[in-house]
């Protein structure tokens, strides 16, 4: 007896099954088309939904010919699970695609170099730009990072390095904080800062609101990163007679440096697109505001810009800004992946 020594991976999907599924899929499309022709059904999405339902029913009937009920159900469940995965992935593709297609035409140098100062609200969308919004977002997010990072790291250090009595409570609070609706963070900053010591709307007020939304992400991601630090490193440092603060400051945190950077980037990506809290903190402005002036003057931001352009029915400008915003967020996201991969490789 000759024995093939090539390794094989046994599969549950056989070619004949795949062929049958393709055939059934075609049949489902035809049946649905007929149904749409002869009954008052309409709508593209409705077609897809009905075609899928017909497909599932036909497929089940087909496999039931050759399998017992359990296997037919198993087959049906697999199909449904694959459809779920497609339904999750599809919006991502559609959203990014729509934003690119609709946003690209309005993208010009003007968009990055001009503001809307003195631009008539009904002017063509190519007039003026979003420089004030871009600088506003960068300023607000920058301040938010400065405010959040120390607290985020301290929280993470508390959760991992100090086995305190309140570790559980702090973790619960940080988790609860991550569930705060962004609009509530905005209202809070409005109540505590804007109508109080802040004397009115300002870019800095927006930074405070963003900090609240960013802190949980930074703290919990940093915590995860600190947990990855090899415990023997800590013990080695303590065994050398180093005090705890030196161990944390000179061994643990530097080891997790790349991880902490990842945490901060993820935090930034989480808040860069926040809109709701800006409505009652930054409020919006048509000029570029310097970082120093951002403490007491209203300021624009990319999300705010999009929202306000939509309100004025300037859709093209809104789409272009959306493209810039999604580009920024995806860039940050990829950057975070890259940094964390490097950190893990080390």
């Amino acid at each position: 007896m000759t024995v093939a020594l090539r390794p094989r991976r046994p599969r549950s999907l056989r070619p004949s099954d795949a062929l049958r599924s393709v055939g059934v899929f075609g049949a489902a499309i035809v049946v649905t088309l007929l149904a749409f022709l002869f009954t008052p059904l309409d709508g593209g999405l409705g077609f897809v939904v009905i075609a899928f339902a017909v497909f599932l029913a036909l497929e089940y009937a087909m496999v039931r010919q050759t399998m017992d009920r359990k296997h037919a159900i198993d087959h049906l469940v697999s199909t449904l699970v694959y459809i779920c995965a497609v339904l999750t992935a599809l919006p991502l593709v559609l959203i990014v695609g729509t934003v690119v297609v609709k946003g690209l035409p309005g993208l010009s140098l003007n968009f990055f170099t001009k503001t809307l100062e003195g631009v008539d609200p009904s002017a063509s969308s190519t007039v003026g730009g979003a420089l004030h919004a871009i600088t506003g977002t960068l300023t607000q997010v920058g301040f938010a990072v400065i405010v959040t990072v120390p607290f985020g790291i301290l929280t993470a250090v508390y959760l991992t390095e100090i086995e305190g009595r309140f570790t559980g409570i702090v973790r619960l609070l940080v988790d609860a904080m991550s569930g705060i609706p962004s609009i509530v963070a905005g209202l809070f900053v409005y109540a505590i800062w804007v109508i109080g010591p802040g004397h009115g709307f300002s870019g800095f007020a927006a930074s405070l609101a963003l900090s609240i939304l960013m802190l949980p992400t930074v703290a919990r991601t940093t915590e995860e990163m600190l947990k990855l630090v090899d415990p023997s490193l800590r013990e080695a440092s303590l065994a050398l007679g180093s005090p705890q603060w030196r161990t944390v400051g000179q061994v643990v945190l530097p080891t997790a440096r790349a991880g902490i950077v990842t945490a901060v980037i993820l935090g930034v990506a989480r808040v860069a697109g926040e809109t709701a809290p800006l409505l009652m903190t930054a409020f919006g402005n048509d000029k570029v505001i310097s970082p120093a002036a951002a403490f007491h003057e209203p300021q624009s931001a990319l999300p705010l810009f999009i929202f306000q352009q939509l309100a004025q029915d300037q859709r093209e400008r809104a789409w272009t800004a959306a493209l810039a915003l999604i580009g920024l967020v995806l860039l940050l996201f990829m950057l975070a992946r890259l940094v964390s991969r490097k950190a893990r490789a080390r």
Partner: protein, 274 residues
């Protein structure tokens, strides 16, 4: 004594008719990713016999066991070559689905794993539920399976308590009952006693003796005495350094232990390594 000779192993002289072979492995090799862990295993398992697979850790005997009911492929990156015939049909061919194979070739694991959310009764009947089989007399089946697994007298009054409330040895016998309830042809046991104390081990071994009257049993064990006590035939696996595992010797248990052909078998069964 029933065992079969394979090409290249000319010291076994027992050749049963094909009809008496429950399970036959032909040239089975296994890989995890690029690493080959098992090479060219030929083994014929006679119906209603107890076959012990012995050998040092890492020699591929558990891997081989898992190829016999298609559990091997569940490990990510696992692949294999060769074939395994169940009553003459290749279980890796297109006639059988993995679940049909596993229904006929049951398995008991190293650590007892009764389903935690189910009662004792539900655990015994879990296989029926999972395979979509029906029985008109569930109570009789539960009693039959638990009696076969020598557990009935201990649990008859608390069938509706969680399976996790039993002791380790009882849990393992519950797992045996669970496997028996779907009436498999072959039962694979992967070091079923390694997590148990000596008394429980003894009970499980008695159970194996009882059960072997109706099912074929393939058992992986590290315990030489256990292999001697429970098995009719014995296969010795060995992996030389950086080499995939192979069968070094296969024969009647008595012979493998008292008068092995290969000197390495002799060293191993007498505790000189492994």
């Amino acid at each position: 004594m029933t065992a079969v000779m394979q090409p290249g192993m000319d010291h076994v002289d027992l050749a049963p008719a094909d009809a008496d072979i429950a399970l036959r492995a032909i040239g089975v090799s296994c890989w995890f990713g690029k690493r080959k862990v098992l090479e060219g295993v030929d083994l014929a398992i006679a119906r209603h016999s107890v076959v012990a697979l012995i050998g040092p850790s890492g020699c591929g005997k558990s891997t081989f066991l898992r190829t016999l009911n298609r559990m091997h492929e569940l490990v990510p990156g696992a692949s294999l070559a060769g074939s395994v015939e169940l009553d003459g049909t290749d279980i890796y061919g297109s006639e059988l689905r993995p679940s049909e194979v596993r229904k006929r070739v049951g398995m008991v694991f190293q650590k007892p794993n009764p389903f935690p959310a189910m009662t004792i009764r539900e655990n015994v009947l879990a296989g029926l539920k999972l395979t979509g089989s029906k029985t008109s007399e569930p109570n009789e089946l539960v009693e039959w399976a638990l009696t076969r697994a020598s557990l009935w007298t201990e649990v008859r009054d608390r069938l509706d308590t969680p399976g996790g409330s039993l002791s380790g040895g009882q849990q393992q016998r519950l797992c045996i009952a669970r496997s028996l309830a779907i009436k498999p042809d072959v039962l694979l046991m992967d070091e079923p006693c390694s997590a148990l104390d000596p008394t429980s081990t003894r009970r499980v071994e008695e159970t194996i003796g009882e059960v072997s009257e109706e099912v074929t049993i393939v058992i992986v064990t590290h315990n030489m005495q256990q292999a001697q006590r429970v098995s009719d035939t014995c296969a010795f696996f060995l992996a030389e350094e950086n080499q995939p595992g192979r069968i070094v010797e296969f024969g009647a248990t008595e012979q493998v232990f008292s008068n092995p052909v290969d000197p390495r078998t002799n060293d191993y069964v007498n505790g000189r390594f492994g």
